[in-house]
Symmetry: C2
Subunit: 178 residues, 2 copies
DNA sequence: GTGCAGTGATTGCTACAGCAAAGATTGCAC
DNA sequence: GTGCAATCTTTGCTGTAGCAATCACTGCAC
């Protein structure tokens, strides 16, 4: 019989693990995960989580401060059931409220409240500073930030084309979504 | 009552949301999230999840095909309790096994089995192809892949310096969340 | 040897998110 | 008007991951 433990590792097998693509993917995973952890710790000081921040920022950016639950889901990489529960939590804290749609009784709008806007105004500067410190700053030091943005946008367009399209609905989606 | 919906948005408030840093962070989040979803769907065909893949690949890359639970945790952005359960699942499927350490009875090694290596050999080519299609390919089209790698490595070094260093070594006197 | 601080792995508890199903409503075909 | 497919949201169930506590062991001081 052949020696089981050490034998089966052919050169072609090991070579797979040396692939540069794996390195890039690994670096991206480590970076993003750590970035989220930092952001999460900072946002926790304001009493919200990363996904809650994500929902609030979409609402705050929306012209009328409201979005349909479905659109929130499309814009935030959270499923519709997830949005239901996130909005539940935010509503309990008075950061958003639900509002019925006058023309279609199936749809529910999530609306950011004054309190929600205040929290965003308090949390955003620190968040931007963090992004500057750990993402855009280092990127700029190793190359051109605009180039990086173009690269990552290209990736996004390829892997999540739906996210690039503007949010559907009655609201004027002005520029290409970012 | 005061006009709740439209009044409180000063120019300086809106300006925060137009910040380019938010755009880059958003693009990165969408890209990475979608990338993970694609990878997860593909790996599901092989019966494993993304974190299970992450653990298996670390073990497969390790010279002896084994790592201490703690080291696995350090290398995979999963907490030690998370590693315990992931290894539980993998062990039930015969992809890894636990092995006691001869010199320190506290430590447990996770060891990749022959079956685990076979699964990796089956899953890796498709995974690499996917990374090529959705990450390195598009990046290369929008610029230089080496530049991108340097940028993202710079980010990683800044935000997760521990991951860059070898897994061994005493923890630097650490203040965790800053 | 005994005691004690430090390290490694596991477990109880909890929170969160996805999937699939259900409930409610709409618009369309006839 | 009735029936039916599609749409929007919510809910039940389940799987997973983190935190903090616990158990086991080591190495050191005395």
């Amino acid at each position: 019989m052949t020696d089981q433990a050490t034998q089966p590792r052919e050169a072609s097998f090991d070579a797979l693990f040396a692939d540069g693509r794996l390195t890039v993917m690994g670096l991206l995973a480590e970076s993003f995960h750590a970035l989220l952890a930092k952001a999460g710790a900072q946002l926790a000081e304001h009493g919200i989580s990363v996904v809650e921040f994500e929902v609030l920022i979409r609402l705050a950016r929306s012209p009328l401060g409201l979005l349909r639950m479905t659109d929130l889901s499309a814009q935030t990489s959270v499923t519709t059931s997830g949005v239901t529960r996130v909005v539940d939590r935010l509503q309990e804290r008075g950061l958003v409220c639900r509002q019925a749609c006058a023309t279609d009784r199936r749809t529910t709008y999530a609306v950011i409240t004054e309190s929600g806007r205040e929290l965003m105004a308090a949390a955003l500067p620190g968040h931007l500073e963090l992004v500057e410190t750990y993402l855009t700053g280092p990127v700029g030091e190793a190359g051109d930030l605009e180039t990086f943005t173009a690269m990552i946008r290209r990736v996004r367009d390829g892997v999540a084309p739906d996210a690039a399209a503007g949010s559907t609905g009655p609201l004027p989606a002005s520029r290409s979504a970012d």
